[in-house]
Amino acid sequence: MQVNHQDANVVLDRAVGSPASEATLSHSARASAPKRKRRFPGKVESSKRHGFNLWLLIVPLLIFVVLFSYLPLFGWVYAFFDYQPPIPLSKSKFVGLQWFEMMIQNPAQLRAVWQVLINTFGISGLGILTSMFPLFFAIALNEIRSRWFKNVVQTLTTLPNFISWVLVYAVAFAMFSSSGMVNETLMDLHLITDPIKFLDSDSHTWLKMMAWGLWKGLGWGSIMYLAGIAGIDPELYEAAEVDGANRFQQIIHVTIPQLMPTYFVLLLLSVSNFLNNGMDQYFVFQNAFNLKHIQVLDLYVYNVGMGQNSLSLATAISMLKSLVSVVLLFLVNWASKRTRGESII
């Protein structure tokens, strides 16, 4: 929020200081003056109506919120019916907790859900293990003295964050498919005789997904920390230097402790998103070979619901996922309040 304040002050200086903006201000005010009577703070009635009128202005947007955020929650009732479109819900059979029981009692279903949970935990776990990487990346980049070099590296490494997963897959396909650039080059050099199956095999699927995630997100993830480092009081470094600390000791005793609060908040957020891997990445990379280890919860819900057309079962699964996620969020927030005295939501 520091950034905001600075910007706001700049804008304010400009607006107040420049004659041009003063002119537009009084001009607009004068133009609308005759149309509208001034409100007097003493008149309770009119200020009440004014408050209600203000509310009326936001009603159209509130309707959007209801339609697209609250109304879909009623879709959870589909988890208790045997809904098979195009038969409408009113004619579908009410089955109670059948879908939830099926997840536990049907051995095949239980095995599938179990594998999906393991994948979700594995991939999210790797994400949390590598959550320190952007921090190290920022610290290492900050140690380089050339400002020009730092800027170029930052610009180039942030770029992949702004492309879609489909495009990442296009890149992966161009480079790593059987006839892709990497395989062709290795074969030309006679290092391999058969193309390596990078994409259509099930070896190290989690690690590959983690690697693509790092390729896309490492540079971007470090920006927060670089901003954090820039905001550290130089006096702390001077004091450390006077005490005889070298560069490495300064990193360990000044930089890292100063960045810890930021790291902790981001870590807590990623813990609360433990079940929400999103599906774009895993959807584009999934194929018949790696399906077993790439199906995370979000992708599984899609595959069951849209692929196999079991809308009710998919709803039941995603409903459980949402509920657990909300509980996780509150737990994490509670932990944050206990340890740091600050809430993160």
């Binding site: 804008v11 702004f162 997963w165 161009a174 001077e238 230097e241």
Partner: protein
């Protein structure tokens, strides 16, 4: 004595001061960053040089450093593919309309929630903000959209994205940092709430609104999942979705290639003849080019955008 000398000499020649360990670290550091920056950018370069090279060479993966047999016909041919022109319009349309409406709505709500007189202001503010923390899930969302008549409808790209809680927080915080006296002065002069919004608040919020605009535009351009879930009508496919199909569905590509093959089979024609590889790479470049172009513009908004991302997950 030696301490003060060390501090003074720092400004003169920092290199002299570095110990051996620090020098080794520095070399490793620089090599690592050069390597990682290369890995992050080379794929884009690879796509671009392949999309303009001899198609027989690019299909064999032989173009790695410099383009060979440069020609631009891929870009001409690719727009003759069925659906690509429409998809480009859909992507462009959703990006422009979506970003504009999101900015307007975020500014409007952010501003109105600073107006203390509003009827149950805090309640309605929380009503919106709390939607950040729960999610009905993919299937209930799909069923709701279907019931609202928004499947196979362009507006499904726009409407659900208009009210974004985090953008509202961002704008509201920003407006609260502007002194109230400005608005009060205008009100004394008789300006109504809407006049204050359009003539005073909106122009003053440009920096924060630019952040919101750019990040929602990039989000709209890159969005893929909504086409996948809500659209079966190929006229409403986005570029991202079309690219995915070209990569994954060999059949749709093969027919496209056949359609573009005009008969002539001599070597010269073969070099510019469309291949599955050439189509994939060219479409990929078309998808990434707008991002590459606006990228230098929005770098300055990174830190604020980061805060957007941190909460959206």
């Amino acid at each position: 004595m030696s301490d003060s000398m060390a501090i003074e000499s720092k400004g003169v020649s920092p290199l002299l001061q570095r110990t051996k360990g620090e020098k080794v670290f520095n070399v490793f550091n620089i090599v690592f960053f050069i390597l990682f920056a290369f890995i992050c950018t080379y794929p884009f370069y690879y796509l671009i040089i392949n999309s303009i090279s001899d198609n027989t060479l690019s299909a064999a993966g032989k173009i790695t450093i410099l383009p060979k047999g440069i020609h631009w016909s891929n870009y001409v041919e690719v727009f003759k593919l069925e659906g690509l022109g429409t998809a480009a319009m859909v992507s462009l349309g959703r990006t422009v309309i979506g970003a504009a409406l999101t900015v307007l709505a975020s500014a409007f709500l952010g501003f109105l929630f600073t107006q203390e007189g509003m009827w149950h202001r805090k309640l309605w503010y929380r009503f919106i903000i709390v939607t950040m923390y729960f999610n009905a899930g993919l299937i209930p969302m799909f069923i709701t959209m279907k019931n609202l008549g928004l499947t196979n409808n362009f507006w499904v790209y726009i409407l659900p994205a208009i009210v974004q809680p985090f953008n509202i927080i961002l704008v509201k915080t920003y407006i609260e940092s502007i002194p109230k006296s400005l608005q009060e002065a205008a009100e004394v002069d008789g300006a109504g709430t809407l006049t204050v919004f359009f003539k005073i608040v909106l122009p003053m919020c440009t920096p924060i609104l630019a952040t919101v605009a750019i990040f929602s535009a990039v989000g709209q351009w890159n969005s893929f999942q909504d086409t996948l879930i809500y659209m079966t009508d190929s006229k409403l496919y986005s570029l991202q979705y079309l690219l995915y199909q070209y990569i994954n569905q060999a059949s749709s590509l093969a027919s496209a290639v056949k359609a573009s093959a005009g008969g002539a089979l001599n070597m010269a024609a073969l070099a510019t003849q469309q291949t599955p590889t050439s189509i994939r790479m060219t479409v990929a470049v078309i998808v990434v080019l707008p991002i590459l172009f606006i990228y230098p513009l929005f770098q300055r908004y990174f830190v604020k955008g980061m805060m957007l991302g941190a909460v959206k997950g």
